[in-house]
Amino acid sequence: MAEERNITGFEEAPPPVSEWRRFRRVFFSRGVVLFGLIILVLLFLVAVLAPWISPYDPYKMSVGKSLEHPSSQHLLGTDILGRDTLSRLIYGSRTALMVGFISVGIAGVIGIPLGIIAGYLGGFLNTIIMRTMDALLCFPMLLLALVLAAVLGGGIQNVIVALSVATIPGYARVACGVTMSIRENDYILSAQAMGSSDALIMFKHILPNTFPPLIVLMTMQLGALILAEAGLSFLGIGIEPPGAAWGAMVNAGRNYLLNNPELSFSPCIAIMLVVFAFNMVGDGLRDALDPRLRGLL
């Protein structure tokens, strides 16, 4: 599927992203992007500073009464076990970032080389790799994650693995598309003529060219992964308790919606804000790095 689509986007190598100034101008020109960026910076700060800023131990029971309403002691109330919701929300940012970044990282590390190899070497290898990726894409992402999580059991590491595998094909496709579009470019051909090994060409000349679209894809995936984690939690496969994860908190809190809506709403708003932020920053990056990616990512 990939090779037909590249016509719409990658007719030639994207220009080297040297113009830092242009990048800055485009990237910071839109208010939403800036807003997203601020949310992300705050998210990182909260995650890093969690032990210092969270008012209570997020795992400790009975720091308040069961299901307390928001008060000056507990700004977002307490859950059924008397744990402080705000503290759990703060620690949940760590889980969210960890799940997002590690999954994206693993998927990228596996998917990008596969895509480049398939695109550069072509032929039978391309068929095998890219059809496998297409096959993975035929599984709805949640199904794949569900089956994998069922194989591996709950727990954060398994959720990460499940989400990574589910997102590998996306990276492979993009990497393959970029590679195929620049494979015949002069500088690649000349490198070949000069006797550079395939591995060196792929690593030195092709890999950097795949970065702009992939960075955009990764940023947007981060948001999608956080949403997917929430979906998995709803289906009963999520971060192992009592770890604080937003998706699991939303799901656990929905039982108490009528009397303690903050239990479910506060992590829900956190998820929405962060997903929003990743999407907006992704948009901004796309416009700044390579506007031609519009419509593809």
Partner: protein, 538 residues
């Protein structure tokens, strides 16, 4: 741009405000303040009416509907329960004391000398296809289960003899009082209808999975797998003047929140077997009617038979029991609806040993015992549980963490959980739920010498405990009541041995509109008498 942003979040906030504004006013009624008393009485604000009225369609919501309708060897417990309007039992518990009453059997004799169990069947009952209910039909139904190896305690039956039209004798190789309770649950279908349903056994089985011809007050009108089942009145029912309702519709609603919303919106008349505490608490404030049942028995089970396991050491098991603050746990999780347990019986249960609490909450004592056991710094272990037990598991993890035991929660999906608990066994501890029967059979079903559920052999049972169980099963006892003194000894022994850690009894109830009248699940979650249910005109 800023305006757009502002608008977005104003919109989110507004929607949330509308939403939370929808909730009840601030009054968060902590439902009852006395957690130890079982909520057994329904609110008394019902308008008193003259008596049962006829007619109406009862719209029910439930977490499950039957999957196999009539083919007994493949029926699960929930299939049996939800088919009660159609297929009746031989006998069942008639009250909260666990007295057995006959339904399709009028009475039974237990001869402990000759090792025979004789059923005297009810006369004048016909199946929905018009064929008579008699000893041959009874034998045919028992035989079908025996052939498929699916009759509980069937291994004790040597042969079945039809003595006359309404008498069936079972010739046994062992006898005890638990058998009458187990075999009484047998729910017969019409042998004629089954035999005529197809030319091959495969066709007949396929038919019986989707059809049921019983003797009950209703017949199946429509069934859509995993969605709904509708019953209509059987005009030729053998109990005179019954049933009251014209029809019963049971709709499967997997998500309790949705079921609660349907009850509140009046889209359903009754919600069966509710166990989610928060929904119960919420709906209590809405003026709906409640019928309470005995609930479930929640406990930690150990892998104590493996000498390598930490839990083979009684000191460790005792330490764990001391470490868990069960009254606090029950209060938090049950919001006043759960009863903390300190023995293998709840206070609603006839086998309850008054005042017996071998190990009340005492974390210092727990640490001391762990030190004695050679674990001064605690140890690491796991607790197997399902997603539904996450809150309880998190609490147990926190309690045990206080005394130095680091627990990893192993959250299994239903498949792996059942596979481990009822099949291959578990490695350390498991958070388990068992039914609470009105008689004492559950002790034997779950924790007896030959348990039907936790039969993996993971749980270590001392010779003293096993001897006391056997003593309570002696052939001279014909009912649970006769054996009760011995049963209490077995329960006390299990406590002395720290065999398991009893945690709490949960709340279970049916929630209904005020015009609905039913006794389900007052006696037990499997005792429903649909022929007695009725609705006021509304």
């Amino acid at each position: 741009m800023k305006r757009i942003l502002f608008f977005t979040f104003a919109l989110i906030l507004a929607s949330m405000l509308i939403f939370s504004g929808c909730g009840e006013p601030e009054e968060t009624t902590a439902p009852t303040t006395a957690p130890t008393t079982a909520p057994t009485t329904a609110p008394t604000t019902q308008p008193t009416t003259a008596g049962p009225e006829y007619g109406g369609t009862l719209r029910c919501v439930a977490g499950a509907i039957p999957n196999v309708l009539g083919y007994a060897p493949e029926k699960a417990p929930s299939d049996n329960f939800y088919m009660l309007p159609v297929i009746e039992r031989l006998a069942e518990w008639g009250d909260e004391e666990g007295t057995m009453v006959g339904i399709l059997a009028e009475s039974w004799d237990i001869d402990s000398e000759a090792l025979t169990f004789t059923w005297h069947l009810r006369q004048g009952v016909t199946f929905h296809d018009g064929t008579p209910w008699n000893a041959e039909a009874c034998q045919w139904n028992f035989q079908m289960l025996l052939d498929a190896n699916r009759l509980t305690m069937g291994q004790f039956i040597d042969s079945l003899d039809v003595l006359d039209e309404y008498t069936l004798r079972m010739n046994l190789n062992k006898i005890d009082w638990v058998m009458s309770e187990q075999w009484g649950l047998m729910s017969p279908i019409s042998p004629t209808a089954y035999e005529n349903s197809g030319s091959t056994e495969e066709e007949r089985i396929a038919w019986a999975r989707e059809n049921a011809v019983g003797t009950g007050p209703y017949t199946v009108a429509e069934w859509q797998r995993d969605d709904h089942i509708n019953f209509v009145k059987n005009d030729n029912y053998w109990r005179p003047g019954l049933p009251y309702l014209d029809a019963i519709e049971i709709r499967r609603i997997p998500d309790p929140m949705v079921a609660a919303a349907m009850m509140e919106a009046g889209e359903a008349d009754i919600w069966f077997a509710v166990s989610s505490v928060q929904n119960i608490v919420d709906l209590q404030a809405k003026g709906l009617k409640f019928v309470w049942g005995p609930g479930m028995f929640l406990a930690i089970l150990f892998n104590s038979n493996d000498p390598e396991s930490y839990f083979a050491d009684k000191l460790v098991r005792e330490a764990i029991e001391y470490a868990i603050n069960r009254p606090e746990l029950a209060e938090m999780l049950g919001q006043g609806l759960y009863e903390p347990l300190h023995q293998m019986a709840s206070s609603t249960w006839p086998g309850y040993v008054e005042g017996y609490n071998p190990r009340p909450y005492d974390p210092d004592k727990a640490r001391e015992l762990l030190e004695q056991a050679g674990h001064p710094n605690g140890f690491k272990t796991t607790l197997l549980l399902m997603e539904t037990g996450i809150d309880a598991g998190s609490a147990i993890k926190a309690y045990l963490g206080e005394v130095g035991i680091e627990v990893e929660l192993d959250v299994a999906d239903i498949g792996r959980y059942f596979g481990s608990v009822f099949g291959t066994g578990w490695s350390d501890m498991v958070y388990s739920a068992s039914g609470i029967n009105p008689s004492a059979t559950d002790l034997y079903i779950h924790f007896g010498p030959n348990p039907v559920t936790y039969r993996t052999g993971n749980i270590y049972k001392t010779p003293e405990y096993l001897a006391k169980c056997e003593a309570a099963l002696a052939p001279q006892f014909k009912t649970a009541a006769e054996a009760m003194a011995k049963i209490k000894e077995a329960i006390r022994q299990a406590g002395e041995d720290a065999m398991i850690v009893p945690l709490f009894r949960t709340a279970e109830c049916s929630i209904m509109q005020t015009y609905v009248h039913t006794e389900y699940p007052k006696i037990h979650g499997i005792i429903w008498r649909p022929y007695n249910d009725w609705m006021e005109a509304h």
